[in-house]
Each structure stands twice: as C-alpha cells, then as structure tokens.
C-alpha cells in the first residue's frame, strides 16, 4: 500500500512549487471593468470581501481579475474544504498555499512552519511575523470561507487580519458574511466589498459573456436571457453552454423564458441533455467526489479517456475547474455538483451510489489520501472498511494535530462500534486524550480493554499496540507512575506488540509515538537503560516517518536521561537539537518541547550559566502551561529551586523545593525526585539558620549518602567538625550508594571544610583536589555554589599546586557572582566544507544564485547547503547565520565602520 509519510492535503502540493495557482479557465473570460476596478481598489488595502449566493460568479470574477494583474502577483489560493471543522487542517492548507505562492524563500521560517498539535498561538504569531516580512504583496484568497465551521480557525484568522501584515492582501470569498469582526474594518475604511447585487451581470456584460462563449444571439434574446436569469452568473454561463451547441438559439431562449422551473435546474437539465452520453455518464458518476482526476474518473465510469473529457469540459466552460497548475485535478462548481447528485440519486439503482463511494474509497486509500478514503467508505455504507482505514491511519491525524477531523470521522461510524470494537474505542480515547478530556478517555480505555480479547486474531496485535500507546499517553499526561510501570513491564514481556518490527509507515508512527511516551515515562521511574533504548528507537522511527513531534519528544527525553546519567555534554547536544527541530517547525511553545527546555535549563545551571538558564526556564514554563504534566512540573520546581539556590534567593528556593515535593507526593506512585527535593528543602532551611528544625527532621529522612552529607552540614553548623568528617566518611570510602556525582562532590567539600576547621591542611587539600577532579571534566559549577563556605575554601586552595588551575579560577569567578559572558558553544553538528564555503559568502550581498556561480554549484544546491547550515547553527535568517558564524569564529569578525 502506497502511503506517503505526509500525504499532501491538496493535490496541487505535489505540483510545481513556484507557480501561483489561480483556478478557473483561461478561455472564455469576461472583462468586467467596474468590478475589476473595485478589486483593484481592494487590492490596495488589507481585506476585500466578495459575498453572494451560490453561482453568483465570485470565484470566476476573482480568478479572471487576478490573471489581468501586472506584474503577476504572488497568489496563495486556499479552497476551504466543505464543512471544515478542523482548525489545524485549515491552517495546514493555508500554509500549503502560502508556500506554493512563490513568495516564500526556501530559507524563510515560513517554509517549515507547521500548525502543530494544539499549538495555535505560536503558530499564528509566527505566521503573522512571516507574512510581515514579505518583500512584495501576497494575495491570500480564501475561497468558500463559508465552509469553515471552526470557531478557533475563524478567531485565528480575525487576529491575523487585525495584525494586518503590510504586504498581505486578503480576499475573502463567501456565501455569507463571515464572523471576522469586519464591521470594525468597514468603519475604518479598510474593507472593500463586492456584494451579491454588484456581482449580477448587466445586459452589456451578459452580451460579452455570450460572445466570449462563441454564442451568436440577437440583442432581444440577450435581453430575455438577462431578464430570466436576473443577471445570475451561473445561469448565464449554463445558458451559454447549451446555446453554443443549439441549432436554434432563438427557440432555446423562448422555451427557457417560458419555463417556470428554477433557472439552475432547468439549465443543468439542458446542459446534460445536450452533451454526449459519455460526458453525461462522467458528470453523473463523479459528482459524488469533492475533487476528481482522470484515473479516478476512469475507475468510476468504467471507461477510459476521462482525463481528456475533463480537460475539454474545463476548456469549454465553467462546469469544471482545474485546482492545480498541472490541470490533473478538477472540481465541479458546488451548485452543479449538488444538482448532479440529486439527478444521480433519482436515476441510479439503489445500491449504485454506495458502490461508487466504495470504489472511490479504495482508490483514495491506495493513493494515500486517507481522510477522503475514510469519508467515502462511510458514505458507501462500508463501516468495516472505514474502521480498518481509521485503525491504520489515525496516528497521522493525531500527530498532525487533526483531532477534530479524527473526531468527525469516528462520529461517522455506527455508534455501537465504538463501544464494541477495542481498536476504535482506543482511538476515540486517544482523540479525547489529545483534547485533555480525561474522564471520557478513561471510560473508552476501559471499554477497549474489556473488548480486546473479542477482536479477531488478525486485528488484535495492532489494537494491542494502540491500547498500550493510549495508556502511555494518559499515564504520561497525568503522571500515573503505577500505570507506567505496568505498561513498561508488559512491553518488556512482549505483550503489547511494541518492539516488534512493523515495517509499514502507519505501524511505525504508532510505535514511534508509543516508544516516545514509554521512554519519557521510564525516565521518571529511573529505568534509564530501557528509556534510552526506547527513545533511540522512537527517534529513528519518528525521523523515518518525518514526524517532528516524535523527534522533539524523543530528543528531549534522551537529553533528560543523559542529564540524569551525568553526561552533560551529550545532554546539551540532544536538548539543543530538540529545541532546534521544534523551532524549525514553529513549535517552540508547544508542550512537547517543554521537557527539553526544562532539562536544558538544568544542564545550564549545572555549568553555572545562570542567566541563560533563566531564559530557558521561562520558555519551559510557557511551553508546559498549555498541557501541564504533573511529573514534568515536579521537575520544573526542582530546577527552579536549583536556580534560586545558586543565586542565593533562599526563600524562592525553599518555595520551589517544597512545592515540588508536595506535588510529587500527590502522584499515584513516588516520583524519583521526591526524596531529592526533601534533601534540598532541608539544606535551604540550614542556609536560613533553621538548624534545630533540620536536626529534628533528620531521623525521618531516608538514610543514604545524601543524608550523611546533610548530617555533616548540620554538624558544621554546630561547629562540630569531627562529627562532620565522620558523617561523610562512609560516602568518601565508597561504602554508601552514590546516585549522582554531585553527592560525592558535596561530601568532598564538606570533608575539606571539616579538615580545615580541624587544622589538617593536607587532608583538606586532598579532598578539594578530588572535588575539582570530579567537577572539571564536564564543567560542573552548581553544587559548589550551594555549599556554605565553599568560596573561602577554594580561595585558600593553593593555585600553584593544583592540577586544575583554570577550572579553580572559573569556579572562584562563579562564587564571586561573576558569570562568564555566555560562552558560545560549538554547534551540535559541525558544518561540512561546502557548508562552510557557503557560510563565508553570507556576509556579502550575493544572492544564492550568485553564490552558486562563485562556487560552481547550482542554486538549488546552494539553498540546500544554506538550509542545512541554518539548522546546524540553529538560526533562521541570513543575518543570524552571519552573527552566529562570527561568534563561533567560523567567519572573520565584522569590520566596524567609524
């Protein structure tokens, strides 16, 4: 089965990316100077509104005018899908159109911006910013906007229009006035309107239309046609089609004028009667489609040559409109399609229409157009096929953030199927989880679990994987550790189907999603090796399927595991990659990137880069606010506490550690950070001189190396260095389990403090040297900042006798509150020679084309290198690339001009 990883939503996306798409025939256009002038006037301002009933010629007017605009403008033409209820899907079609308009450079952030799952606000801001950067006007056409039924999408559109990017010219084509706050623009004079009454043809225009269609009729007949159709565009066009083939035009006009039937109905009947039978068959049997292409029409008519007929129909008149530049996909005028469907229903045998839908469903499925395949299966009454297709492809929709579409498709199934079919119940649950509707999800998950054994053998493995994936989504979102342990055990025992090679893209995506959630959850229960293995595999599958969502989640998880397992360099690289991928697609505020920011903050704090960490933690806050996961929030409190402690904001530190510990206690199973948070809480109490309270709490703290250190801290506060040295002795002798290198560093510093107080300079020197040896390799700073007295201790350390002189100096700077200016880190990936060569040309004024000339590369190759090097440098614009290249020493410093 040929499923592409990212099925294009509109066929034109596969076509020529640089040619503007304006639908409609090239031939038979009518110049309508008065309306063209209105559009011209509208195109000077932000918004033009074209409203009028079906068939009033809105689209035709706009497309014929656009063809006359010189120089040809960049046009982003959006055909809003019938009954569109999914905001994400709507914005995805807008982005496709914007990219096809030719106004967006390959290296512009708009080229990769994606409306993510539940990430609306940031997407809209980036879109508005991107459109604000346009160097020349872009005409954004929203055709059939009345089909848009999503309040979210309309609200977003209103915000975009209110922002009014200077070069954006929006044309709204709708049967009804859309809810977009247009009255304010009208009052401000920012809105140009072409309404139903304006759209009606004047007798002169009707005459021109008939002439353009090659119809020769007398002035009287034109007058009668105009009167009968009341200038209605669709009526005149339909009449022109019939007249062009009629041997007695006068009689046709007379009969039409004498008929009491409605205009459209009469004329469509005439048009159909005047056409050869094969055209009639084609129109009737393909009118069930929202869009049609030659091979599909061949299948539905059982004849060959449909592509030629469609071309002829398109060239001859306005019955059929091409929707892509290559003219391979067409759609019927909505009014015509609706009338044809009524005829088909009357003429066809009862089971014929469903059979057509099922044929179409199979064809769309084969071509990878999943949503259309499922819709036609449902219209064809084949609930089994629809269920199978949903089971195979639902992960696409969830990963694309199209839960609303998935919900609509599920709602189109017979209601009892959701309760009795384990796989469908699971999918419905996943859709609810994605919308944070926990209770409904739980009910559905319970039903799925109960119904799973009843599923046929052939369907059970995939359903089992889906169920495990949904449970993991839920457990992760709610911090349900018990369930995580259960599912992790089941995966290890091979009971879920996760980890068995699926080998098709749909399975891969499901598995990638499950592995991402599993790995992240496993890291919370410290099954770190399993977590790493699962996240690596999820990352590979996610990359293969082109899923940024999974990539960001897995990289963030891997970075977090690397941080916990004390490999700061690897952690830093992976977390930076996670952030870079998220920013590339415009999801830097999406919940999926939250944990990556959080761990990146932790790594920066460990290295003493506190100011940078502050910014990163703010981003973590913002990303996590949209979908707060309790286990991740515990982590956020921990890292905020670390930061506050390093900055000696003791009250803030205490508040953060306490809040984290209390939240960790409310989770179903203990969070690994809970005891660690308690330790830090007590250390802050000591710093606040609350020694008695800590002494009283000590017996209740879980024993271990960290508790021994805490006892030493209490002893030092009591001026009892003997007891302090004794307390840490077991840690230093390697007798106590040391979870983290920071515990050993702390023990060594406390030992050195105790030895100094006891007058044993030699032992103190040795312990400090050992502590420096542990902190230096990864540039650890943070723990040293937390130990009271560390500054004096290190200041007294003989600089001429240490093996770590530079590191010691750096630590002393940090302890004096002198944070080294944020050292530029080398990029996560190194640049290739070619990329470096291209980078060196970026400070110049040369275009990509000219750089290609200098380097003997094609412009395409230069742009590919630019894209790669931007990604590696984590930048979006040429100017940023130059700045970062300079900071990294890859480019010579800028010459300052006096």
């Amino acid at each position: 089965m040929a499923t592409s990883a990212a099925p294009s939503r509109t066929p034109a996306a596969a076509g020529d990316m640089s040619t503007p798409v304006v639908p409609g025939p090239v031939a038979g256009l009518v110049e309508r100077p008065r309306l063209f002038a209105a559009l011209e006037h509208g195109s000077a301002g932000p918004v033009t509104l074209l409203t009028g009933p079906a068939g009033s010629g809105k689209t035709m007017l706009l497309s014929s005018w656009l063809r006359t605009v010189r120089p040809p403008p960049a046009v982003a033409w959006v055909d809003v899908e019938r009954d569109e209820r999914d905001a994400t899907r709507f914005w995805a079609t807008v982005m496709d159109a914007v990219r096809r308009s030719g106004a967006v450079a390959l290296d512009d952030p708009l080229a990769t911006l994606t409306p993510g799952p539940a990430g609306g606000d940031e997407f809209l801001e980036r879109l508005a910013e991107g459109l604000g950067r346009l160097a020349r006007p872009m005409f954004l056409v929203l055709d059939d906007l009345h089909h848009l039924r999503s309040d979210d999408a309309l609200a977003g559109l209103e915000r975009l229009l209110t922002r009014a990017p200077p070069h954006l010219r929006t044309f709204i084509v709708s049967r009804r006035d859309p809810k977009l706050g247009l009255h304010r623009m009208r009052l401000a004079g920012d809105l140009v309107e072409v309404r139903g009454a304006d759209l009606g043809f004047t007798p002169e225009e009707a005459s021109a239309l008939l002439a353009a269609a090659g119809v020769a009729v007398g002035e009287d007949d034109v007058g009668r046609l105009h009167e009968r159709t009341e200038g209605w565009a669709a009526g005149l066009r339909l009449a022109a089609i019939s007249l062009s083939r009629h041997d007695a035009p006068g009689r046709f006009v007379a009969e039409f004028s004498g008929s009491e039937r409605t205009v459209a109905d009469y004329l469509v009947g005439e048009v159909l009667a005047s056409r050869p039978p094969e055209v009639r068959r084609l129109l009737l049997r393909t009118c069930i489609l929202e869009r049609v292409t030659g091979p599909l029409a061949d299948l539905l008519t059982g004849r060959t040559g449909s592509a030629r007929l469609l071309h002829e129909l398109e060239e001859a008149n306005a019955l059929v409109v091409a929707v892509d530049v290559a003219r391979t996909w067409f759609r019927y005028h909505h009014l015509l399609a609706d009338l044809l469907r009524l005829d088909l229903r009357l003429e066809a045998a009862p089971d014929e229409v469903p059979a057509l839908h099922r044929l179409a469903s199979g064809w769309f499925a084969e071509q990878g157009h999943v949503v259309e395949a499922i819709r036609h299966a449902q219209l064809g009454g084949d609930a089994d096929l629809a269920a199978e297709l949903i089971g195979r492809h639902w992960v696409h929709l969830v990963l694309d953030g199209e839960e609303a579409t998935l919900g609509t498709l599920l709602a189109g199934l017979p209601p009892d199927r959701l309760e009795t079919d384990a796989e469908l119940a699971t999918i419905a649950a996943a859709a609810r989880l994605a919308e944070s509707r926990w209770e409904q999800a739980d009910t559905l998950l319970a039903a799925a679990g109960a119904a799973l054994p009843a599923l046929p053998d052939a369907r059970r493995p995939r359903a089992g994987t889906a169920l495990a994936a949904a449970h993991l989504m839920r457990a992760r979102s709610l911090g349900d550790m018990e369930r995580v342990i259960e599912v992790a055990d089941a995966v290890a025992g091979g009971a879920t189907g996760i980890g068995t090679d699926g080998g098709d893209v749909a399975r891969d995506e499901l598995e990638a999603l499950a592995l991402m959630n599993l790995g992240i959850a496993e890291s919370w229960i410290l099954r770190l090796e399993d977590a790493e293995a699962h996240l690596e595999r999820g990352l590979a599958l996610g990359r293969r399927a082109g899923r940024a969502y999974v990539e960001v989640g897995c990289l963030g998880g891997l970075g977090t595991v690397a941080n916990i397992t004390q490999r700061l360099g690897i952690a830093y690289d992976r977390l930076r990659q996670a952030v870079a991928v998220a920013e590339r697609v415009g999801w830097s505020r999406h919940p999926v990137v939250g944990p990556a920011y959080l761990s990146l903050g932790a790594v920066l704090i460990e290295r003493g880069r506190l100011a940078e960490a502050e910014g990163v933690l703010e981003r973590a806050d913002r990303a996590m606010a949209a979908a707060p996961e309790p286990a991740a929030i515990v982590g956020l409190h921990h890292v905020r506490g670390m930061l506050a402690l390093a900055q000696a904001r003791l009250d803030d530190a205490l508040a953060s550690f306490s809040a984290g510990r209390q939240l960790a206690g409310t989770l179903r199973a203990p969070h690994f950070l809970a005891p660690i948070l308690r330790q830090w809480e007590l250390r802050v109490h000591l710093r606040l001189d609350d020694v008695d309270a800590v002494r009283a709490a000590l017996p209740d703290v879980v024993p271990g190396a960290q508790t021994s250190n805490l006892a030493a801290l209490v002893a030092l506060a009591d001026d009892d260095p003997d007891a302090a040295a004794e307390a840490v002795a077991s840690v230093l002798a390697g007798e106590a389990f040391v979870f983290h290198v920071n515990v050993e560093i702390e023990a060594l510093l406390l030992d050195a403090l105790a030895r100094t107080a006891l007058g044993d300079a030699g032992a103190a020197y040795a312990s400090v040297e050992r502590a420096l040896a542990l902190t230096e390799p990864e540039g650890r700073v943070w723990l040293v900042l937390t130990v009271p007295g560390a500054r004096d201790l290190l200041a007294a350390h003989p600089a001429h006798r240490t093996a770590h002189a530079a590191h010691l100096r750096a630590l002393l700077d940090h302890l004096s509150g002198l944070e080294p200016a944020s050292a530029e880190e080398p990029p996560a990936e190194t640049l290739s020679e070619r990329e470096l060569a291209v980078l060196r040309f970026l400070p110049t004024n040369l275009s990509a084309n000219e750089i290609g000339g200098e380097l003997y590369l094609s412009v395409h190759t230069v742009k590919t290198h630019m894209r790669r090097l931007y990604a590696k440098l984590d930048v979006h614009t040429r100017a940023e690339a130059v700045a970062r290249g300079r900071a990294l020493g890859l480019l010579a410093p800028a010459v300052r001009r006096g």
């Binding site: 669709a234 009491e260 039937r261 409605t262 459209a264 609706d338 009524l342 229903r345 009357l346």
Partner: protein
C-alpha cells in the same frame, strides 16, 4: 419532542430531482414559486433545509411557522 410545521417559499418551480432534495417535505407549486412544507423537529433541522436551499442556488422568499394541522 414536539415538532413544528414550517412553510418555506422559494422562487420558481422545482423539478422532481430538485424536490427530492427535501426528503420528508412536500413541494407544491404556488403563485409565488414553490412552497416546501412539513414537520421539522427543531431549529437545527430547519437550518439544514435552509442550507440545502442555499447550496442548490434557490432563492429564499419566505419562512413561516404555522400551527400543526
């Protein structure tokens, strides 16, 4: 639930195929055009009918709520 009787008038005479778009309702020619009438369970159903009228390019002349006969 109590349904309500509606009379919806559109311009022009409807062919059989057009009339078939309004299942469960009757379409009767009248002086003004065609009167589509029948029982509708609620406003949602009414708007469904109006939607169909719009998409078929019919001109809506009047909508009346009448007492059920």
């Amino acid at each position: 639930m109590k349904s309500t009787h509606y009379q919806i008038t559109v311009r022009g005479r409807l062919s059989d195929s057009l009339a078939s778009a309004f299942e469960g309702l009757t379409a009767t020619p009248s002086a003004a055009g065609t009167v589509i009438c029948g029982e509708l369970p609620d406003q949602a159903a009414l708007f469904g009918v109006l939607d169909r009228i719009e998409s078929l390019g019919l001109e809506l002349l009047a909508v009346c709520r009448t007492e059920a006969a």
